[in-house]
């Protein structure tokens, strides 16, 4: 009797047949249609944003309209299929990597269980190998001989509206974090497949607002939030007031100053939202402490580049303003703040897209004389490299005890760790400013788990999705919280600072989130300061 009842219970629990029978489901996955319902998709881009972007020189965002993923009819252009297939063909020609990634997967399954979306959902289509297969099946069908002749038997699949919908669902359940590529024996980078899927979808007007609105804002005013120059400046000024209240030191940063030695660019989130604000205070304190000749820009006021999450052209255009502003102001080099995808763009694409920046010099620290040859070509260095070098040369007056209320751990942001290899510098800095511990080995450095909300997925309407894809990260934080009493999760990424805050609020509410430079700023002893006891460092409220 009990057995029969248990079966009944399980029927009410799992009505759908289990699809996967091994690491790589081989059969029916292609035939199971996606269902869009509130909470599992991000809102489509607003018509006026798409129209605006499409009207801009060098950009192509067609088919602006009102539509919803929940509708049967997505109001695609009549010849949508032709557009997609031609678009794919064009990209196979243009990007050799895409062609290789389409051809060389042996379906070994090594990547299958490495994706945080799969680990948090159990949905087989979130296995990287299957995510790529969504595109590969169409590629096989239309671009390989076997597929053309054998169709489905050769793993080919005709491009249909159903397939397009699937692309939308699963290319926006990938944060392009590249964790899977670390484990692939062929180095297949599923992130690049996702990038292509999203590019192709934009060709027929399928995109999300949380990405296109920041892109259009950045194009218009220079930053994601659409802040105008005076507001941007007001915000930084407000932070200097806070610093004065806390330390008695009045800092007077400059904006758009021609002839400064260094241009400083950081994600705008650092100057307008908690907890990034404290990191921005850290930058201000650090630069004041060592007395460098630098300026902020209210035009190139955004380090982030959501263009990366749309298409090549938008990424290139938004990125171009950095060099343009550096040239206009006549600086020697660019110093970049704590950001993730900003560094992916800088490190991997900027030079070929908008370089060479001949008008700049190879970055040289004005304080230590260190020449940053690693940035000989891009002429732009990361604030953590810069700070680690200062510490190494004993140029910072640090009082670690000012962070004694903190037990930190460090989250490697996907982009800084996997896309630019910045792993030791932040750790070196932490060693000197705070008591901290590592999370488990298989969740850090190049194997780090994504915050779950990167690539423009940090929007609130998909909060449950973000919480489940962030589970692997949160789970490792929980471990160090329980074992070592960790109360602060540090990182060098502005998106992380925002998204990990929500993630921690849900999974580990006693753990806060901060930038590494916040901890640096808090530990710095400024000359002439009148700082009292600050129980919470730069976060202490003083009136």
């Amino acid at each position: 009797m009990a057995v029969a009842k248990l079966e009944q219970l399980s029927q009410s629990v799992a009505q759908d047949p289990s699809m996967a029978t091994g690491a790589v489901p081989t059969n029916d996955w292609m035939d199971i249609p996606v269902v869009f319902k509130p909470g599992n998709y991000a809102y489509p881009a607003k018509k006026d944003k798409v129209e605006y972007l499409d009207s801009q020189k060098g950009l192509h965002f067609p088919n602006a309209r009102e539509w919803s993923p929940e509708d049967d009819d997505w109001k695609l252009p009549e010849n949508w299929k032709e557009i997609i297939i031609d678009g794919l063909g064009e990209r196979l020609e243009k990007f050799r990597s895409l062609k290789i990634f389409m051809d060389c997967c042996v379906r070994c399954g090594a990547c299958a269980d490495k994706c945080h979306f799969y680990l948090g959902t159990g949905d087989p289509k979130n296995m990287p190998v299957l995510r790529a297969e969504l595109l590969r099946s169409v590629y096989r069908n239309d671009f390989t001989l076997a597929g053309k002749i054998l169709g489905k038997m050769a793993g080919g699949r005709e491009m249909t509206v159903g397939v397009l919908k699937e692309w939308f669902m699963y290319s926006y359940q990938c944060t392009e974090c590249r964790r899977c590529s670390v484990f692939c024996p062929y180095g297949i980078d599923t992130a690049e497949v996702t990038i292509m899927l999203r590019e192709l979808l934009h060709l027929v007007g399928v995109g999300i607002n949380w990405i296109l609105e920041p892109v259009s804002n950045s194009n218009r005013t220079g930053n994601h939030m659409g802040l105008q120059p005076h507001t941007f400046k007001d915000n930084v000024d407000f932070l200097t007031e806070d610093i004065e209240n806390l330390t008695g030191i009045k800092i007077e940063p400059t904006f758009n100053r021609k002839g400064a030695e260094i241009l400083f660019i950081t994600p705008s989130a650092d100057v307008f939202a908690e907890p990034g604000l404290y990191t921005a205070m850290g930058y201000l304190i650090l630069f004041e402490h060592i007395g460098i000749d630098y300026t902020w820009s209210t035009y190139s006021s955004e380090g982030g580049n959501f263009g990366l999450f749309t298409n090549n052209e938008a990424m290139k255009k938004l990125n171009a303003k950095m060099y343009a502003e550096a040239e206009r102001l006549g600086v020697k080099f660019i110093l970049g703040g704590e950001c993730g995808h900003m560094w992916r763009v800088l490190h991997q694409y900027m030079d070929t897209m908008n370089g060479p920046a001949d008008f700049l010099e190879v970055p040289t620290s004005p304080i230590t004389g260190t020449v940053f040859d690693n940035a000989a070509s891009t002429k732009m260095i990361h604030v953590s490299e810069f700070t680690a070098d200062l510490i190494k040369h004993g140029k910072l007056n640090l009082d670690k005890s000012r962070n004694s209320h903190v037990k930190a751990t460090y989250h490697d942001s996907c982009n800084t760790a996997r896309a630019m290899g910045l792993m030791d510098e932040p750790r070196y800095i932490l060693d000197h400013v705070v008591d901290w511990v590592e999370m488990p080995e298989n969740t850090i450095r190049e194997k780090t788990f994504c915050c779950g909300s990167g690539t423009g997925l940090n929007t609130d309407e998909i909060m449950e999705l973000r919480m489940r894809s962030g589970l692997p990260r949160a789970n490792a934080v929980k471990y160090v919280e329980e074992k070592h009493g960790v109360n602060l999760l540090s990182c060098v990424c502005a998106i992380d600072r925002a998204t990990l805050t929500s993630l921690m609020d849900y999974w580990n509410p006693n753990v806060g989130v901060c930038g590494v430079t916040e901890l640096v700023g808090n530990a710095i002893v400024l000359e002439g300061e009148t700082r009292g006891e600050l129980d919470e460092g730069l976060r202490t409220m003083v009136f």
């Binding site: 399980s10 799992a14 289990s18 269980d113 659409g226 939202a273 298989n442």
Partner: protein, 174 residues
């Protein structure tokens, strides 16, 4: 043999089947059952860990308050996954059926089934507590959403200094 002893002796068998049953509610469950490293497999790890704890409380007829920690971990997980509320909570019920099954399969313990009333009552209480926790988690999600929207709204208006406005937002009540 006493019931308590029988449950204790069979605890691994029962919990294993309970874990297996719960993990089968996920579409691609094989990996979740197989991989033992809880950092590589957080769903599997969380389910295994919390069910093990809950079972040891159940056989001791513990106060419901003690269930809160392991139940809450499980509900944090299942309330953000694609389950209906009943699907999210239902696997807890399964332990009743599994326990009966396991005891019935062995001659030495078969007769103890008649004494399961108290154990099953404890399961019922745990299920009810889980439902409260499920709703708590859902509310937390909405609060976090509201918090994000609120900070976002301030940012989109170009007037007042957003960072100043942010200072006024009180922390999420936890």
């Amino acid at each position: 043999m006493k019931l308590e002893e029988a449950l204790h002796n069979n605890r691994y068998k029962i919990v294993d089947r309970w874990v297996q049953y719960t993990l089968e509610t996920y579409k691609a469950s094989q990996f979740f059952t197989r991989e033992k490293d809880s950092f590589a497999n957080p769903i599997g790890g969380t389910v295994r860990d919390s069910l093990r704890k809950i079972f040891s409380l159940l056989i001791k007829n513990q106060e419901t308050a003690n269930y809160k920690e392991p139940l809450s971990r499980l509900m944090h997980l299942r309330s953000v996954q694609e389950f209906t509320p009943s699907q999210a909570v239902a696997p807890l019920n399964a332990v009743k059926h599994i326990t009966r099954d396991v005891l019935a399969a062995d001659k030495a313990t078969k007769l103890l089934i008649g004494e399961l009333y108290d154990f099953e009552f404890s399961v019922d209480l745990a299920v009810l507590a889980a439902f409260d926790l499920y709703v708590e988690c859902r509310e937390k999600i909405y609060k976090i959403r509201v918090e994000e929207i609120r900070s976002g709204k301030e940012l989109l208006t170009d007037g007042a200094c957003p960072s100043k406005a942010l200072k006024n937002i009180t922390d999420i009540k936890r």
